[in-house]
């Protein structure tokens, strides 16, 4: 189970990077970055999973006394929560800049932006 999830995450990261490197439309690049972001989050959550244990919430199924024997690692989940929110922030900024680039140049093809080439 862990290995399936980690392999999926790694494959998503590779596919996202491939899409970001080969596409020439800026919006498609941003979509590929989003996919790579999702892949990294899957890998991080898969690291914290332990076989046969349950989610880190103390209620009727997991009482307070036996918490450390029945609960998975809560730290990667806290990490990934932050990472998902910040990933949305980065995507929003990329989209705002892409819109501005379109307004100035009239095209979304990244091969046409040649002002920084010598």
């Amino acid at each position: 189970m862990i290995y399936i999830a980690m392999a999926t995450g790694f494959i998503l990261v590779l596919m996202g990077l491939y899409g970001a490197l080969t596409n020439s439309n800026i919006l498609r690049m941003i979509v590929s970055f989003t996919i790579a972001n999702t892949g990294v989050n899957i890998v991080l959550v898969a690291v914290g999973y332990m076989h046969g244990r349950t989610a880190p919430i103390l209620d009727k199924t997991v009482s307070v006394a036996e918490a450390s024997a029945k609960v998975i690692d809560p730290v990667p989940q806290a990490l990934v929560l932050t990472a998902i929110v910040i990933g949305l922030g980065v995507t929003t900024l990329m989209l705002a800049y892409a819109y501005r680039l379109y307004i100035t140049k009239g095209t979304l093809d990244i091969a046409k932006f040649t002002e920084l080439k010598w």
Partner: protein, 231 residues
Amino acid sequence: MIKRLSVSLILASLGLIFVALLLGYSPDEELNVTGRYYAEHTAEDIGAANIVTAIIVTYRGLDTLGEVTVLFLTASIVGLVLARQSKNTPTIQAEPAGELLNIGSRLLVPLILILGAYVFINGHLTPGGGFQGGAIIASATLLMLLTDPMRRFSHRLIAIIESIAGLFFVTIGLLGIFLAGGFLDNRFMPIGEFGSLFSAGAIPIIYSLIGLKVGAEFSSMLVSLSEAEDS
């Protein structure tokens, strides 16, 4: 040609590294030291039933402060980049939304707001919390935007909500220094009975403020994007 070759070379080497990581990984049998400390001491120290909430708000509260700051920066930069050049009337004439959308949104928007408030008020008991509740509140704003694209949202109201929520968040953190153990310590309010709504000290208040702030930020991002136009 060269570009294709270099791209496949980069991806192949990354793939090799990933395969090496995957093959050399063996999952743990017991919780490691940090996880065991959090699992054992959350109920008596913090009093929250949701361990992930306790970590985000109190144990690693400084990271949450950083995340809220990054979101605030993002919202202001989006508002800055997409600012309108002149204050003339918009040139896009959208047709009015149909009856289904009008009546449906009037029915659904209060329900969505209540659901969002429920999710972040009960963040310490059930899965949920400030960020999820804030995203749900932002989707209520989105529904209002879709129904009536010509409506002008007042940026001042959203900015006031966001600033006041952020200010109170930092104030509660500072109160934690003076009245209890450290920054963002929640024990200056009574821990209460485990599992009830008014328990876990100041965590419901902190998470509600975070939920309001995040909801206001996402709403202001959406409103900026929908009002952006060329002069």
